[in-house]
Amino acid sequence: MNIAVCVKHIPDPNVPPEMDGKYLKREGVQGVLDPGDEFGVEAALQIKEAQGSGEVTLVSMGPASAQEAIRRGLSMGADKGVLITDDKLKGSDALVTARVLAAAIKKAGEFDLIIAGVESTDGYTGTMPATLAEFLDLPQVTFAKTIEAGDGSVKVNRQTAEGYHVVECALPAVLTVTAGVNEPRYASFKGIMAAKKKPLENWSVADLDLSDDDVAIKQDVAEQTPAEERKAGEVITDDGTAAAKIADFLQEAKVI
């Protein structure tokens, strides 16, 4: 089974983010493979291993530094990578991102499954995979908690607000995976060394048969203002009386 995994290189979420004008600063900051995408890479590797054949291709859009995210996925065991880099894509919305990734996936080969994280850890838009599925004219099953890939179909436990649904879907399809769907493996030293030799293609918009209009971004940050901060209140250290103080607070708030 051939699987494409969408991956994103994001500023390290453990470091306070910086802005670069209207956008999140992406260049010259410590970057990582989006932790949410590690579950996607792992899911693809597990399916490939269970089936005993096929290839896992990582697809990403971002500045040249985004290669690092792809290398990280390759060191986990993916077979090859594609990175789309173009100045025209800076500040892309989810629509343009999905259109570019769809074009890249079509060019990269034939896939039975396309896997992505539920949402990126830096932008949280959460719709790109569904938009991608529509561009590829494929069904999508989002929020997968478990995946059973069979012959020509996939069975997924899909999270819902109050539990989960079991969804059966014909392949090829787009899936998004939740954290908790698996335990992503660590890259071994051997894996890291091997990743350096794995194929990684660099494409621009011109390589994808997309027009300037196709990548025109139809939303723009008009203004940014600091949010009204909630003020920190009293902080006490528990000396055995904290429970009583909390109870006082609950009484003042008239909830007990």
Binding site: Y124, T127, V141, C169, K218, A227, R230, I246, L250, A253
Partner: protein, 317 residues
């Protein structure tokens, strides 16, 4: 006058309350029409009318219950082609996300998610970087697609009756590929997390799943309280997904929010920072949750919980 469409989600015949919030907001921006698809749609249309929808496009066809997103997109694209609304509003829920996302590709319409405020048909606001910066976004093209976070607006019944227009879209076979075959929903006990005036929430600091029993016990001592959790402990399988509060998960705005052993990751804060009062208990005095708490306690949640249960019980007599 602009025409704003609200996509109203229904589950098991029940209307998503967030759709009424969107109808109320849309009424401030223009003429409101709604689309509701699946079992119970016609009945839901009457409710949407009471909140201000003038026209409701509805279909009770079970195809919308059984298959994910594609039939809805097919029907919506047809309706939009015939009626040309200026803006489409969706609540940031599971099914709506998928439908809005696909529709964005189908129509070539830009999509903005996590919307907290809508100023006009071409301007909306969201918060980024853990809610610390508000961005005001200018949107181009028609129709714009917005996904709003539930509880961003307050639903107000205005009285009224919608004209119900039946949706008669013929759903093609190739839009029936992702099928729900089983439904496993946990029956909620006590008040719903989204509606409870007191929310007790647990994170990694509770150390093990079994310790959530203290939160359950405190909830029943308080009465009218619901128990929630962070994504970390939900992902770890400690409690069911229905407990999750945060960016993915539920948005709560209770009168009092008590966070036990929660450090305050952005993912979580976004779902609870609208609470009227916040109490946090955490061992780490540097925990970011203290920056937004009205009362912060540096201490061991597991030690304080049994004492608090006793305090509450004795004060309530």
């Amino acid at each position: 006058m602009s025409t704003i469409w609200v996509y109203a989600e229904i589950h098991d015949g029940k209307l998503d309350p967030a759709s009424l919030e969107l109808v109320t907001k849309a009424k401030q921006l223009g003429d409101v029409e709604a689309v509701v698809l699946g079992s119970g749609a016609t009945e839901a249309a009457a409710t949407l009318g009471k909140y201000g929808a003038e026209i409701v496009y509805a279909s009770d066809d079970q195809v919308y219950d059984d298959f994910i997103a594609q039939p809805h997109v097919h029907a919506l694209a047809e309706l939009i082609g015939d009626n040309a609304p200026d803006m489409l509003l969706f609540a940031m829920n599971y099914d709506s996300r998928d439908i809005a996302g696909r529709l964005s590709a189908r129509l070539g319409s830009t999509l903005m998610s996590n919307v907290m405020e809508i100023e006009s048909v071409d301007r909306a606001k969201t918060a980024i970087i853990g809610g610390s910066i508000i961005v005001d976004v200018a949107l181009e093209g028609e129709p714009k697609i917005l996904l709003a976070r539930p509880k961003s607006f307050v639903a107000e019944e205005t009285g009224g009756e919608a004209t119900v227009v039946p949706v008669e879209a013929e759903i093609p076979e190739d839009a029936k590929k992702a099928k729900r075959v089983e439904r496993h929903e946990e029956a909620a006990t006590g008040p719903k997390l989204e509606d409870a005036p007191v929310v007790l929430s647990g994170g990694r600091g509770l150390q093990e799943p079994d310790n959530f029993k203290h939160l359950d016990e405190l909830a029943s001592a308080i009465g009218n309280a619901a128990v929630g959790a962070t994504r970390a402990v939900v992902d770890a399988g400690w409690v069911p997904y229905a407990y999750q509060i945060g960016q993915t998960g539920k948005t709560v705005k209770p009168s009092v929010y008590l966070a036990f052993g929660i450090s305050g990751a952005t993912q979580h804060i976004v779902g609870m920072k609208g609470s009227k009062r916040i109490i946090a208990i955490n061992k780490d005095e540097e925990a970011p949750i203290f920056q937004i708490s009205d009362l912060g306690v540096v201490g061991d949640a597991l030690k304080i919980l049994p004492q608090l249960i006793e305090e509450v019980k004795s004060r309530k007599g």
